[in-house]
């Protein structure tokens, strides 16, 4: 039944990439100059690919919807980027990074891809440092590391709480260098609205100039999508406001299969919702779990008192605190993977132990490490033998400030509370989408010549992504994978002349886009776009969020289909088409989210097992040490679910079986 060929090279796992790299067909320099590549997206994936491919001699065009490529959502990543450098001499290796990633992904990722990722991870750090990315250093001048969830080594490189910013600015500067040299043509404030295919191959895009509203046709021998994730289908998420699925969805409707759409990552440490005006949620980096301990009161009456404002966190005695992650998972404690930490927070709050007004928050507390870990260290260095509690607090505060200062400031700015003095309040929020466009080992989708990189593809994180691995993957795809793998396709395309954009396929695609824009304006309904987006978000969060079940998902599909009808009957898009029009942009994106949301529920419904971020209430351990934990069903679901678009509200499932040749599949235990 499957049309899926993952094109994984032959040979032993740890030799595949090396061997493939040296045998993949090359394109000679003269031919490269006549080959044009379109890259949609200027995040870590898009920018690194664009810079690298342009350096190699290809003619590159880059598109992004922000006013500058430097503003892609990657800029907001906080905590860090993984690499198997073993600089800390703590037993890290390529194999261990590979193993942690596969296990963290709950045995739902492809071995060959993940191993390649681990292999090139070290090169990323080298490349970034060479570009002048100021990663954190020790006093001796060497690079510094910290830990992230789901691992027992320190392999995360960082730049305070602004790692994404610094990595992206590195890739952006490499990109701008190529722009300056005339090798890349930049199209900022342009939104791709359609893929153009000719004889089954991707040959270009239709993009809307967001300032003039004009539709433009662009030809490319290949089209690369580095367009990011689709977490904003939930309306509230940690993603930037503009993050959307449109590019990926257009590709899907043109034949690209969508892999594992239901795999969503709910991040455990985000600032809780404060009211119904909320437009987005803010992440407090996972790196905080290095030093913050998560707890709720042991006694429900204490939680009630806190919710009613009669007690504060500091009023709860040490013995009356339930450090539930340390209790349930002694081996990993506060550093269990995200899906596990999120569900545990939900479990405590559902049981009535939540600590803010809405009952949906737990504490992330730095007091003890601030004082007794860092404060003491500083006191020793300063030669103070009997430091007072105040001194310990003051010393420790300085250390914490250096490590997480910008995050603490951000928390204070948003909540009005000072986290140096009282514990943070946090709750899980939608953060990342492991699902995405299905790609083979070359990162090519099921449409020849159409590629997907970074968060936009489904490939490396299985059913749950480990912290600091998205930055790694985006840069691996762009700097170190696609420059090689694209040769496999383009070497066969050197005789194809640039196709004039007067070709009927361009004509037809542009007409389609125009018709849709006209349709938005013609509705003249009564409700703003956000009204529908919020409704969709609520359905998704309630029924396709942290816990899912059959009845809920079936209901969600019915509700979403109704919402689609309401949207197309009653949305109001103001303004005009031939000008800057943010409402029109939002309308297009929400229309696509409405279709994607349905597919996510369809996928979640079909996968009658719990794995990673996908927790089906019907599939949990009912007894023993693992009681209540997610229960996978390897016999029936050890595959990638890749969906083919078959017309409105119709999707056909294809399966890519996952074979584990090196790793022994077992239940994920962090106990």
């Amino acid at each position: 039944m499957s049309k899926l060929d993952s094109k994984i090279p032959e040979g032993p796992l740890d030799k595949k990439w090396e061997k493939y790299k040296s045998s993949v067909p090359l394109v000679n320099p003269a031919n490269k100059r006549s080959l044009e590549i379109i890259i949609v997206g200027s995040g870590l994936a898009g920018a690194s690919a664009a810079a690298s491919l342009a350096e190699m001699g290809y003619k590159v065009k880059v598109f992004c919807f922000q006013d500058s490529p430097r503003r892609a959502h990657s800029i907001a990543a906080q905590g860090g980027v993984n690499a198997a450098k073993n600089y800390q001499n703590d037993g890290d290796s390529v194999y261990r990074l590979f193993y942690d990633t596969i296990k963290g992904g709950d045995y739902r990722a492809r071995e060959a891809n993940v191993h390649r990722l681990a292999e090139v991870s070290g090169n990323i750090i080298d490349q970034c440092v060479a570009q002048g990315v100021p990663l954190a250093r020790e006093y001796g001048g060497m690079l510094s590391n910290r830990s992230f969830g789901g691992t027992q080594v320190q392999r995360t490189f960082y730049a305070a709480g602004q790692t994404g910013q610094q990595l992206l600015l590195g890739a952006y500067s490499a990109l701008q260098r190529q722009v300056g040299l005339g090798n890349v043509e930049l199209f900022a404030r342009h939104e791709m609205l359609e893929v153009v295919t000719i004889e089954g191959k991707a040959r270009g895009i239709i993009a809307r100039n967001l300032i003039t509203g004009k539709l433009e046709r662009h030809f490319g021998h290949a089209v690369l999508l580095g367009t990011g994730g689709y977490g904003n289908v939930f309306f509230l998420s940690t993603n930037a406001m503009g993050s959307n699925v449109t590019a990926a969805w257009k590709a899907h409707k043109k034949g690209a299969f969508f892999g594992n759409p239901c795999y969503t990552q709910i991040h455990p440490t985000c600032i809780p919702v404060s009211g119904d005006h909320q437009s987005k949620l803010t992440l407090m980096s996972e790196s905080l779990r290095n030093d913050g301990r998560i707890w709720v009161p042991k006694k429900i009456e204490d939680s009630v008192a806190i919710r009613e404002g009669r007690k504060k966190a500091i009023d709860i005695a040490e013995d009356d605190r339930d450090y539930y992650l340390e209790r349930r998972y002694p081996a990993f404690g506060n550093l269990v993977p995200r899906d596990v930490a999120s569900r545990a927070a939900k479990e405590r709050c559902d049981a009535g132990f939540g600590v803010n007004k809405t009952g949906e928050a737990v504490y992330l507390d730095f007091a003890s490490n601030m004082k007794y870990k860092y404060g003491k260290q500083v006191a020793i260095v300063k030669g103070i033998h009997n430091p007072t509690e105040e001194q310990l607090h003051a010393f420790g505060k300085e250390v914490v400030k250096e490590k997480y200062g910008n995050l603490f400031d951000m928390y204070k700015q948003i909540t009005g509370e000072d986290p140096y003095e009282m514990p943070m309040m946090i709750y899980p929020a939608v953060h990342y989408t492991m699902g995405g466009i299905w790609v083979d080992y070359n990162l090519m989708t099921t449409v020849p010549g159409l590629y997907a990189l970074g968060e936009a593809n489904f490939s490396d994180h299985g059913a749950n992504r480990l912290g600091a691995s998205a930055l790694m993957q985006g840069l691996a795809d762009g700097y170190f994978v696609i420059p090689y793998t694209i040769g496999a396709y383009l070497s066969g395309d050197i005789r194809t002349k640039a196709i004039p954009t007067t070709h009927e396929a361009f004509e037809a695609a542009e007409k389609e886009v125009q018709a849709r824009i006209d349709k938005f304006f013609a509705i003249k309904g009564s409700k703003p776009v956000d009204y529908f987006h919020k409704k969709l978000g609520k359905i998704m969060w309630d029924k396709c969020g942290m816990a899912r079940n059959e009845a809920g998902l079936k209901q969600a599909i019915v509700e979403i289909q109704q919402l689609q009808k309401d949207f197309w009957a009653d949305v109001r898009v103001s303004g005009e088409a031939n000008e800057l029009n943010p409402e029109l942009e939002k309308a297009g994106r929400v229309a696509d989210f409405l279709e994607l949301g349905e597919l996510m529920c369809v996928d979640a419904l079909h996968r009658v097992e719990s794995c990673g971020g996908h927790f089906r209430e019907e599939s949990a351990e009912t007894s023993g040490e693992q009681e209540g934990e997610a229960k996978r069903d390897d016999a029936n679901f050890m595959y990638v679910g890749a969906w083919e678009y078959k017309g409105p509200n119709t999707f056909e499932l294809h399966k890519e079986e996952l074979k584990y040749e090196v790793i022994k599949v077992s239940q994920r235990s962090y106990k």
Partner: protein, 256 residues
């Protein structure tokens, strides 16, 4: 809605780059002090759409103070009244019930208005394209720890690299100078050993492009530093001036 603040907004409306703009008054009510400034604009815009009017265009994306896209001039201050805070991180608790708030776009010849509160900052990208990089192709790097960098230098470079490219410095400067932005990049790269090789070329080319874009000259008023949401220090301007002088001397000698 959830709050109880009532405010009067005076917002710059301008159809496009070619047309004249004006301040238009909008009352907003039931605003919660926990809302961000941009969430208040969301509320206003939804209201405008429902009334069949055109919503106000403004730039924003991350809403976390890091992408540098938001850009409102609020009551005479770039990014509003609070220090080291971007527009998107400004919360309504910084205002009082009954306040009148005037909101305008960045004003600078090199940042032409596109529509309402949206301006064109692509001049910044063009300056970076002239030299805001280290010329190293992918795959040429040696092991990262082969190049130890003293922590003080790394930290200083990092502080300069924290610039988000928002343009508040330009919007604040009475000469519309881009010195703080440009110097932050020049300083970051010249503080690091990797960046030394092309230091001269970099500063000369970036400054030349800055002038070509129509940014004004720096008269050391220091206003930029005060309004910069990321605390970029004007010490970077001093570093850049030194680099520029060095580079000019070198290039003169070469010319002789």
């Amino acid at each position: 809605m959830s709050g109880n603040m009532n405010l009067t907004l005076k917002v710059w409306r301008q159809k496009n780059g070619g047309s004249k703009g004006e301040l238009v008054t909008y009352p907003v009510s039931d605003i919660s002090p926990d809302m961000s400034f941009l969430e208040m604009f969301d509320v206003l815009n939804d209201q405008l759409v429902t009334e069949g009017k055109e919503p106000i265009a403004f730039d924003h994306d991350c809403r976390e103070g890091i992408c540098g896209m938001c850009s409102m001039h609020i009551n005479g201050h770039a990014h509003g009244p609070k220090d080291q805070v971007t527009t998107c991180q400004l919360h309504m608790r910084s205002f009082k019930d009954g306040d009148t708030i005037v909101v305008e776009p960045w004003r600078a010849a090199a940042f032409p208005v596109v529509k309402d509160l949206v301006v064109d900052r692509s001049s910044f990208d063009r300056i970076i394209a002239k030299g805001g990089f280290i010329s190293v192709n992918t795959g040429n790097a040696k092991d990262a720890n082969n190049l130890p960098i003293p922590k003080v230098d790394a930290d200083k470079a990092f502080e300069a690299a924290a610039c988000i490219g928002c343009g508040a410095c330009v919007a604040t400067c009475k000469n519309s100078s881009a010195m703080l932005f440009v110097s932050a990049k020049v300083a970051q790269l010249s503080l690091l050993p990797q960046g030394k090789a092309e230091a001269s070329q970099r500063v000369l080319n970036m400054v030349a492009q800055m002038d070509e874009e129509g940014f004004g000259s720096c008269t050391n008023t220091g206003a930029c530093e005060v309004e910069c949401p990321k605390g970029i220090s004007i010490q970077n301007i001093a570093i850049m001036n030194k680099e520029y002088l060095k580079a000019s001397v070198v290039s003169e000698q070469e010319a002789q």
